[in-house]
Amino acid sequence: MAQTNPQSSLQVGTWDQLKTRLNRGIWPYLLITTYSLVVTLLLFRNPSTSRNTDILFVLFLGIMLLTYKMALRPEFKLAIAALFLGIGLPYFGTLNPFYMDIATMVGIFVVLALGLNVTVGFVGLLDLGYIAFYAAGAYLWAIFSTRQAQNIFPGLAHLFPVPPSWFFIFMLLALVVGACMGLLLGSPVLRLRGDYLAIVTLGFGEVIRVLATNLDRPVNITNGAQGIRDIGRPPLFFEPWVREMGVDLSQGQLYQLFFYFLVLLVLGFMIMVVYRLSNSRIGRAWTAIREDETAAIAMGVPLVRMKLTAFAVGASFAAVMGTIFAAKQLFINPPTFDLLRSINVLSMVILGGMGSIPGVILGATLVTLLNLQLLPRLARELSVLQIPSQFDPTQYQRMLFGLLLILMTIFRPAGILPEDRRRQELEGNAIDVPAEIEQSPPQATEPDVGMKS
């Protein structure tokens, strides 16, 4: 798993040499600074939605990838990441809300993919009903922040909908609810072997979706197929301060910024959690289970408890993201949480590399960009070329992700940024490096591996 693919080294020996040369000394600093400045300036010059902006936006996000890949000092990487995520991206978002929305959705899906990666990548349990936990979180806030809840507790009708500021309490509540659901589903099914588990979780996901579609009778809980609209949004508690600072933004833009930073916060926390867990006794037990269950038990790893922990961690974060999603979209309905969405998240994990945290982040970013931005763009370009609407690429997500899953499993099962335990191990001693920021590769390791093979 840890080896870089041999074919590329055959073809691009010179490319590797160039990479090694550019990855030494002052060069990476110069490169990344130039690249960031050029792309940022180009992007900010014309923020209107267009093909060029689409391309530039992807290049813009590429700053993060380059920063991660290059041999830079950790402090420098941190500074770039902070500038990028804290200022650059949100500022651009105020210029063009479409891209802000995409950035927020990317964040949501990165968290989901990281959560699924815990079960699929770390422990090796294929969970095909993962989106059910997301749905649970979304419906939790949707029901209690609207009049829906009055139907469930007719006697307490005056209490509902709950005040919008309770949103934050419900985020915590979703964390608990998600974890409990994970435990509830997990405790009976975790004894099953891998492929049965996959089908049962798929069934569970479908059951949740069918329930969401049908629980408008006898008591209207979910409002059925119509979905729930006018979901409550948390109050913009920071609005006065922002206004005082002289920032002139509409309420919609402020909400966008709010959700962006909220997602970023949860994402940062999530990355910290999964990174730290993966380098702890719990994470090692997970990987040991994935590698050899019998040996893991014999070494004293409590199988069921560790699997349940993994399920609960993944589920709780999915549920939290569900509440944020519901509040952000203001409207949810059952089709949002169908199997295709679960498989979408799975493709993110497979594409990026099962078990690899940076890989999964990259995979989720790519798939979300593809879904929300690139495919619609491609569709528009194609319609100009008079391609019949039957071939609209946005309509063929299943084909695309199906192909992606097949090709990845056959040609690159470890993903595009594979898990590299050796590197983690080398850095394992540097416990105090802030885990929110991805770890720096040891100088010139990567090109070396490529050239040797």
Binding site: Q390, G402, T409
Partner: protein, 393 residues
């Protein structure tokens, strides 16, 4: 595994008496028919009991009478669903038997069969030959076409998406199969849209006749419940039974069947004994796919309208059926299909009757199917007919 059970007596075919051969072909079928009767009786008794108990709660209609009126139709519906799941489940179970791998795309193989049949009907209609075409010949030809295309497609999917992954960790080919399932759904949709068939395709057939009245039963007073069987349902059941007989012959009597059983039991040893394992696995996919394709055509004839996503749910339920019967076990798959079909038909019809339509039955039938799956996997993962230890220890 039943496929293992007979290998001990695996002498040359010629040396076996006609009686054993007949027993091996029709024995499983008898078992299936017993389960048909058993499931129908038990479930009928249960709903009648419910009707008795709940009778007092309803003043608007006589619940018992209502129950009895629809009962024969529900049983026929159960049989059709049962044979549908059984024929699809065979594909899952055979592949699982030889590869220990859930061919997630099998539901799509089934769907492709339905589309081939529909395409056949459509092209006949375009030639203005459909109305005069002999109905029986149409059915046979459509099934054969569906079997060929689906079987070859199943073989292709194995060659492309599964064989390269044969020695990978177990989850990897499953992921590839999920990908294949999605890919096929959209591929068929693309083809259907591009050829102008549209998303929802009407399955055109020559006139196949209406319902055949079967009789009437008195249900108290001067009222009678007349019940009949739809000719399409009848075609379905008959064709399914013929296919099951054929499969039993193939698996239990022929050399190919013996090779399949040998590969299922121990791939490595089978290859040492001179069996070309890759060929046998490909043929297993071919047979399973062909059965799935035939089921697809029959399903299309029965329901009338199909779309590219129509294979997913039956596929999943057929997998449930295969697990219910004991995955890897061929008779088990048929039995599991029958039991699941009956359960679903009863839940779909009676849940809403008993709850005054508060719970729409059709949706909860899906939930019932999945709940059954989850419960079986937890409490009896070896299934109804599986041995206590399914794992190859």
């Amino acid at each position: 595994m039943v496929v293992q059970a007979t290998t001990g007596s695996g002498h040359l075919v010629g040396q076996r008496s006609i009686k054993t051969i007949l027993l091996e072909i029709f024995g499983p079928l008898l078992q299936v028919l017993m389960f048909v009767l058993g499931s129908a009786t038990i479930l009928s008794l249960i709903v009648i009991l419910f009707a008795f108990v709940l009778r007092g709660s309803r003043t608007d209609i006589d619940l018992l009478q209502g129950t009895l009126i629809i009962l024969p139709q529900v049983i026929i519906d159960g049989m059709v669903r049962g044979f549908l799941f059984a024929t699809i489940a065979l594909g899952y179970t055979m592949v699982y038997g030889v590869l220990e791998f859930i061919n997630f795309a099998h539901g799509e193989i089934f769907m492709v069969g339905a589309f081939v049949g529909a395409g056949f009907g459509l092209s006949l209609a375009q030639q203005r030959m459909l109305a005069d075409f002999p109905p029986l010949l149409f059915v046979v030809l459509a099934i054969l076409l569906g079997m060929i295309v689906s079987g070859v497609l199943a073989m292709l999917t194995e060659r492309i998406a599964y064989r390269p992954l044969r020695n990978a960790p177990r989850l990897v080919p499953l992921i590839s199969a999920i990908g294949m399932s999605l890919f096929l759904q959209d591929l068929v949709r693309m083809i259907a849209l591009a050829t102008g068939m549209g998303f929802n395709v009407r399955f055109q057939t020559p006139p196949l006749g209406g319902s055949l009245p079967l009789g009437q039963i008195p249900i108290g007073g001067d009222r009678f419940a007349s019940f009949s069987i739809d000719s399409r349902a009848l075609i379905f059941i008959v064709a399914a039974i013929i296919m099951l007989i054929g499969l039993n012959y193939l698996i239990n009597v022929t050399r190919l069947g013996k090779a399949i059983r040998a590969v299922a039991q121990d791939r490595a040893t089978a290859s040492l004994m001179g069996i070309n394992v890759n060929r046998i696995i490909a043929l297993t996919f071919l047979i399973g796919g062909a059965l799935g394709g035939a089921a697809g055509v029959l399903f299309g004839i029965r329901v009338g309208t199909i779309n590219p996503y129509v294979g997913f749910l039956p596929g999943l339920k057929a997998f449930t059926a295969a697990v219910l019967g004991g995955i890897g076990n061929i008779t088990g798959a048929m039995v599991g299909g029958i039991v699941l079909g009956f359960l679903e038909a009863f839940v779909a019809s009676y849940l809403s009757l008993f709850t005054r339509g508060q719970f729409a039955g059709a949706n909860y039938a899906d939930i019932a199917a999945f709940s059954i799956l989850i419960l079986i996997l937890i409490f009896r993962p070896s299934g109804l007919l599986g041995e206590a230890t399914t794992q190859k220890v």
